[in-house]
């Protein structure tokens, strides 16, 4: 369970990291959507934690206002971990067994289990129990088509590069396709460039001249009519800065969505950078 928390702390886990998990099979099942049935709503889990620790309603309300996450407050209200931390398989088996118990017995079984985990792992247990675990793993929803690489243009940037928006060509303009942290060796150089190429500001975010081209990959796509591109990417990744490409070489949305076309023009090898 602690290893799972460490795995998820890295964002979307890589296959290697997954394989290195001591209970890789159980994690894989989880990520593929085979999760235990909901034990109780998040609000009930929070009530259990609050009652067990004697936390009055006004403090619970203040904690909720500060955190904004019911499961997180339920996890953090309990005292530091005590005893041997349970393994993922033990937690899953316990949740399954608890599902058949009446509420008071569920609580009596669940809280001691949660008390043995440190907060990050305890939060995962809370989310599993509340049936909200899928939210943290949305990018791993099963894709409807194949993995691909594509070229996209950097169009927006948060101040420290924590959120970079990448876009595909569409008509005479660009359509956002992925938002990722700018985690490249060249990030400082890109940030310095960005400060000199600001087109507009939206709060702290910078709209940039669409000049820099990057190589991205994804494991597939799922339709989402609320997006301008009308799709979500599964497990998008930023592979590198493609210094030699010009924005008109970026992949078009049409090329990207038609699965048979060669949407990656001939590009030289993108090195790991400096």
């Amino acid at each position: 369970m602690i290893a799972l928390a460490a795995l998820l702390a890295q964002g979307t886990p890589s296959d290697d990291a997954l394989a290195a998990h001591p209970e890789a099979e159980a994690v894989r099942n989880l990520l593929q959507g085979r999760r235990p049935k909901r034990l109780a709503p998040a609000a009930t889990l929070l009530r259990w934690s609050a009652e067990a620790t004697g936390t009055p309603d006004f403090l619970v309300a203040a904690c909720l206002a500060a955190s904004g996450d019911t499961c997180e407050v339920a996890a953090l209200l309990l005292p530091p971990a005590q005893g041997d931390p349970p393994k993922l398989s033990e937690c899953l088996a316990a949740l399954e067994a608890m599902a058949t118990l009446p509420e008071n017995r569920r609580r009596a079984t669940f809280l001691p289990l949660a008390a043995r985990l440190p907060p990050p792992a305890r939060l995962i247990l809370m989310r599993l129990a509340a049936g909200s675990f899928r939210l943290t793993l949305k990018p791993l929803a099963l894709p409807t088509d194949s993995p691909r690489e594509f070229l996209a243009v950097l169009t927006m940037l948060s101040p420290q590069g924590l959120d970079a928006t990448f876009a595909l060509r569409h008509g005479n303009g660009f359509v956002p396709i992925a938002k990722l942290p700018l985690t490249l060796p060249e990030t400082p150089a890109i940030l310095a460039w960005a400060r000199a190429h600001i087109r507009d500001r939206f709060g702290p975010n910078l709209l940039l001249s669409p000049d820099l081209v990057f190589l991205l990959s994804c494991e597939g796509t799922t339709p989402n009519p609320r997006r301008k591109s009308r799709l979500d990417l599964a497990a998008p990744r930023l592979l590198g800065w493609h210094r030699d490409a010009s924005p008109d070489q970026a992949t078009t949305l049409d090329d990207f969505t038609s699965p048979t076309s060669g949407h990656l023009p001939q590009i030289p090898h993108v090195g790991p950078g400096v």
Binding site: S67, E72, S158, Q160, G161, L162, P181, P185, P188, P272
Partner: protein, 317 residues
């Protein structure tokens, strides 16, 4: 009820009987300063009084000021009150300020931390009638792991990065948190510091704080392979970060407990220089105060908490 010993004014906490302010943020003739962080020590005061241990960093940050230093626990008469400074455990040199007027004792906590670390003078509770307490983390969701556990986690993370030929950058306040990391991670190997961190660290090392040697990493300079680098929170968006090469970034802060504030940074370590919920509760009880005034943080929740415990409590608005 008697007149309060300390009152809030637009300049900051004010003592009418002694005619001085504590940690004022606007120009006043006489300032008593708890520690060198910029939200407590501001420029422009006529005269400053702080602990001998706090003064070098305050002088470094504020330039030419008229300042006087006082040892921990030494009493001084100012007008109609007696004042003294007592260790707050927050950062090197930090103090709580005790103010006594005709037998009535008030203590202004400044910022404080009850867990000890390798550099800050350990927090000492001071008996008082009224305790003005900070409550930056005054909610029960804030419960820190022991510092040793967090330092162990940071060490493992750095070693994993070094194994894949990446440097580890830890973002932390340049005064206080940075030195705690340097003192606590010294055995990990040589530590590189952003120039801002390096300068403050050199000042504290000269004062005699137990800080291992560090290497100053100038803007654009490449660190040694697998280096551990301590930098201030805004460093990654500046030209300084140009020469880092492959690296991973983590932050060390009390706020990391909240997932909502965690996005975008590879790793977050919860290491605070403020007391957590159990620490705040223990500190307030240890003063024996019957009257608690909450400031800086979750003032209403923390006030209501003490009211529910039967104390006279109010929030400093």
């Amino acid at each position: 009820m008697r007149d309060p010993v300390l009152i809030k004014t637009k300049e900051g906490l004010y003592c009418p009987a002694g005619d001085f302010h504590i940690d004022p943020m606007r120009r006043v003739p006489r300032a008593l300063v708890t520690h060198g962080h910029s939200d407590h020590a501001a420029a422009g005061m006529g005269a400053y009084l702080c602990t001998s241990q706090a003064l070098p960093v305050i002088r470094h940050r504020l330039g030419r000021i008229q300042a006087e230093a006082i040892g921990y626990g030494v009493t001084r008469q100012i007008g109609g009150v007696t004042v003294s400074f007592h260790p707050a455990g927050h950062v090197p040199g930090s103090a709580q300020i005790r103010v006594e007027r005709a037998g009535e004792v008030w203590v202004a906590s400044g910022d404080y931390k009850t867990e000890t670390d390798a550099v800050s003078e350990p927090f000492q509770p001071v008996q008082c009638d009224t305790f003005i307490t900070e409550c930056t983390f005054g909610l029960p969701i804030f419960q820190w792991q022991p510092e040793a556990t967090v330092l162990e986690d940071i060490s493992s993370w750095c070693q994993a990065n070094a194994a894949t030929a990446r440097a580890s950058v830890i973002l932390a306040y340049s005064f206080g948190k940075a030195q705690r990391l340097i003192a606590g991670l010294g055995r990990y190997g040589p530590i590189c510091c952003h120039p801002v961190v390096d300068t403050v660290t050199a000042i504290l090392r000269d004062q005699g704080y137990p800080l291992p040697p560090t290497q100053r990493l100038a803007a654009g300079q490449a660190p040694p392979p697998g280096a551990l680098i301590i930098a201030p929170p805004n460093a990654m968006g500046t030209d300084w970060a140009f020469g880092l090469g492959p690296h991973q970034v983590a932050a060390a802060s009390g706020w990391m407990t909240l997932a909502a504030r965690r996005k975008g940074i590879a790793r977050a370590f919860t290491l605070s220089d403020h007391a957590d919920w159990p620490g705040l509760n223990a500190a307030v009880r240890a003063t024996g105060a019957a009257h608690v005034i909450t400031t800086h943080g979750y003032t209403h929740a923390f006030r209501d908490h003490w009211t529910a415990q039967g104390l006279q409590a109010e929030a400093l608005e």
